[in-house]
Every structure is written in C-alpha cells, then in structure tokens.
C-alpha cells in the first residue's frame, strides 16, 4: 500500500511529466471524446483532457490535504502539549471548547464562511481546519497529561530542568507516534471533505482542476460523457481507500504494540 500511496503522490506531484495534454487547453473540435489513445480518459465538455485534469486535480487535492493536515498537526500539537503540561484554567477552557467543536458540522462552518467571504479554497480550508486541529490538540493533550504523570518525567522534575527541556526532550518525542498516526488517518477524511466542498462550489473554483469540482461540472452531461465523471470519481475513491488503509494498518500495528 505504501507503494501505491507513493505512486499516487509521485504521479500527481509530477503531473506535468505524466500528463499527455495541457489540462486547461480547451478545444472545440474534441468535445466529449470517448477515451482513446490521445485522451486516455476522454475529454470533457470543453474538450479538455480528462486524464491530465485528473493528474493536475490530484495535485490540488493532495497538496491541499497535506498542507491542511500539517498545519492542523503543528498548531494542535503545540496547543495540546502546552495545555496538557500546564493544566489550569486555560486548559479547562480549552477542553470545553474542544468538546463542543469536536465533530462540529464542518459544512455549516464552510457555508457560513463561504456565504460571507465568498467561495474559495480559503473558506474550505478554514472550515475543515477549525475542527481538525482540535483532534490533534485533544490527542496531544491527553498524551502529554499521561506522560507528565509517568514516573520518568517526575524523576526529571527533581533535576531542576526547565519546562521547555522536559517538553522537548521527554514529552514531544514520546507523543509523536500516536499523533502522527492520527495525521495519517485524517488524510482520507480531509480529502472527502475538501472534494465535497469543491463539489458544492464552496471550495476550489473552476477552471482550476480538482476532483470534486470536475465531477460536479461533468455531472450535467453524465449521460453523454460518463467517463468525465467516472475517472475523477475512481481517482478519488482509490486515493481515499489507499490512505485510509494505510491509516488502519498503522493504527492496528500501534495497538498491537
């Protein structure tokens, strides 16, 4: 599966190399061509190469997903560690907020943001990020809290080392495992969310290639050119399955010890 995941990432990262055609070049002569040698996945309503668009679209989706997961991971982990380590009133307030926002309807946030700022990648990212960083923060906090109460951290307290030293040397390395696992499992969910928002027109705005918006556009002429829906759909499903499977495997492995 790692091989598949790597293949997907490389294919889309170097979309320019693998793509046979310009994904944005419209051509009136080849509108809705069925898959053929020149256009492996056919063309869409504007005569654009679906295969190239799937590759470039993958780049948009995957890059946005990784960026979002990474930012949430960074922010969430830092806040979680600080809350878990120091406790106190700030921690309690944070936990209340986290309890409430955990699972808060992302779509509602996205709609609120899009309704006011207008549609766009920024709104979609904010909408998804607002709940995602919380999951990292909660996880980091609970692990920090339990590591802090482990005998080895208590032992270090007697040596007079600074809080920063303890967090960086003892706590952070020991919570990386579970938090990174969470990052991996979040990838699939984030892709579903991002492409869903784009599909609704609340995320990436056409003509930028993105799987969700490609499917949304092509839906109108699905009877005439089903390939322009099926290939991006298949790409989406396969990618999500690959990353979800990876997440499951790592999770099982960690649970088994």
């Amino acid at each position: 599966m790692i091989v598949f995941a790597a293949a997907v990432i490389i294919m889309t990262l170097f979309a320019g190399v693998f793509a046979p055609n310009d994904p944005y070049k419209t051509s009136a002569t080849v509108i809705r061509t069925a898959p053929c040698a020149d256009y492996p996945f056919g063309t869409d309503n504007l005569g654009r190469c679906v295969f190239s668009r799937v590759l470039y679209g993958g780049r948009t989706t995957i890059a946005a997903t990784f960026f979002l997961v990474f930012v949430s991971f960074a922010i969430g982990t830092v806040i979680g560690m600080v809350c878990g380590y120091y406790g106190g009133i700030a921690d309690r307030i944070f936990m209340r907020i986290a309890d409430i926002t955990l699972g808060f309807p992302q779509m509602v946030v996205a709609i609120a943001v899009a309704g006011i700022l207008g549609a766009g990648m920024k709104g979609a990212m904010i909408a998804l990020g607002i709940t995602m960083w919380i999951s990292f923060a909660r996880l980091a906090r609970s692990h920090t809290y339990s590591i802090k109460n482990e005998a080895y951290v208590k032992t270090v307290l007697f040596t007079g080392k600074s809080d920063f030293y303890i967090i960086m040397v003892h706590i952070f390395p020991n919570l990386m495992g579970p938090v990174l696992t969470n990052a991996l499992t979040q990838i699939g969910t984030t892709m579903i969310g991002l492409s869903g928002l784009s599909f609704l027109g609340l995320g990436i705005i056409p003509p930028t290639a993105e799987w969700g918006s490609m499917i949304s556009e092509a839906r109108a002429y699905i009877q005439i050119a089903p390939w322009s829906v099926f290939y991006p759909a298949a790409a989406t499903i396969i990618t999500i399955i690959i990353f979800n499977y990876l997440g499951d495997v790592v999770m099982d492995y960690r649970e088994a010890g």
Partner: protein, 247 residues
C-alpha cells in the same frame, strides 16, 4: 536534636467529583541521618501521599517541612531535588523509553558529569556496565529498579524516598533491592524513607516504623518494639494478618 528531615502537622485533602477525601491529617514524622524509616499502611492510608508531599511533588494544605533548619514547604521538586530523590513503584516507567540508561543517569546530576563514577555506581548496585547502553524495554523490572537507585545515587543526594519500590518485582529481585538499600545505608550513610504495604518486608529493613491508617499515623516506634508489642488495634490486626502469611 536536629533531624535530617522533619514534617510537622501535615494536612492534605483531595477534592474529586465534589467530594472531599482527607488523605493526610496532622501527620508528623522525622528522619535522622543514616536512618531507614519504614512507613506501612494499606491502600488509601495516605502513605504515598505523605511521600509525595515530602518530595514536593504534591503541595500540602498546611504543615511544615524541614530539611535541617530550612522550612521548604511549598517548594517544588526542582528545589527538593537538591537534597532528596524519589524512587517510584513502577521501575520500568521510571525511564524514558527512548533514552539509553546512560543518558537517563547523566541527566539526573546537576553538577559536573563523571563517567568513571557512573560505572563505579553501576557495579555498586550490582549491575553490569554494559547495561548503560540499553533502553528500558531490554531490561527486567528488578534491573530497572536497581538502575533507578544508581541514578539517585549519581545525583549526589543523601535522602531516598522509596514509594513501594519492590511491589512490582518478583520476590528474588525484591530481596536483592532490599539488601542493596541496607548495604548502601551502611556504606554511604544513605538515609531513606521506605513506604510499603508489606509489614514483613519493612520489618527486615527498617530500624524505625510508622503505621498509617486513614490519613493518620496510628503508631510509631522502634520496629522490633512495635511488632512484638503493638499498642494500636489496627497495628495488631495488621501484624496478625502478616503472621498468617509467614511460616
């Protein structure tokens, strides 16, 4: 006479779920230089809380704690670490799973590091030097517990607070750890508070004993005197039960 460590009228109450539980009420104790004091009690007697208060890990509600003439109540472990170290029940979790033993040991000393002394100490606690390059997952519970004693010694303090340190290891390691403490007590004048639920074990190691129940000290005195002629009802029951486990 001046005591090495002394606690006066220590009180501590925990609040969980809106309910108050008194963990310590008016507990006083002292520890003289070169002495091993045993504290015996069952779960919930407050013995571990007392040790945590003495070490500075938990703050007492009221009372006084003296190290020599210095009242250090309210000070945290960063301060108390200059003269005492605590050793915990769970030996394996006393070491960072990602660190080698050597790193863990070096970390414990505030002053100048001395690797020669380190290897000497490892031998003094009955371990081999090559264990220093290991991580905790490759060591047994008994080895870890001796390693944590070595770590405390390397930090150059004179007082060890032992919290049920032999409860999680098998009987032969338990014996080894106890013998080691005895030896260090004689050779290095190490002073020690030894908390345990096992009165038989304490009777083998400690010169003086304190019996705790429900957050109070119910009896205190020379070990031999307390065991052969207990005054308190609870102490009698405890000794009675312990006798049923000896042969």
């Amino acid at each position: 006479m001046e005591h090495l460590l002394e606690g006066k009228k220590i009180n501590k109450t925990f609040v969980t779920k809106g309910k108050e539980t008194t963990a310590l009420s008016d507990v006083s104790f002292y520890l003289d230089e070169g002495e091993i004091l045993g504290i015996v009690g069952e779960s919930g007697s407050g013995k571990s809380t007392l040790l945590n208060v003495v070490s500075g890990l938990i703050k007492a509600d009221s009372g006084e704690l003296f190290y020599g003439e210095e009242n250090y109540i309210g000070k945290g472990p960063a301060h108390t670490g200059k003269f005492l170290r605590m050793i915990f029940q769970d030996a394996k979790s006393s070491f960072d799973p990602r660190m080698t033993m050597e790193k863990s040991l070096l970390e414990s000393r505030r002053g100048k590091q001395d690797r020669g002394e380190l290897s000497e100490l490892i031998k003094a606690v009955g371990l081999e030097e090559k264990l220093l390059s290991r991580k905790v997952s490759d060591m047994s519970g008994g080895q870890c517990q001796r390693m944590s004693i070595a770590r405390a010694l390397y930090s150059e303090v004179g007082i060890l607070l032992c919290d049920e340190i032999t409860s999680a290891v098998d009987v032969s390691s338990q014996k080894q750890v106890v013998e080691l403490l005895k030896k260090l007590n004689e050779s290095r004048k190490l002073s020690c508070i030894f908390v345990s639920h096992d009165i038989a074990l304490v009777s083998m190691l400690c010169g003086r004993i304190m019996i705790m129940k429900d957050g109070r000290c119910v009896e205190e005195g020379e070990t031999a005197a307390v065991i052969s002629d207990p005054k308190n009802e609870y102490t009698k029951l405890l000794i009675e039960s312990a006798k049923k486990q000896s042969f």
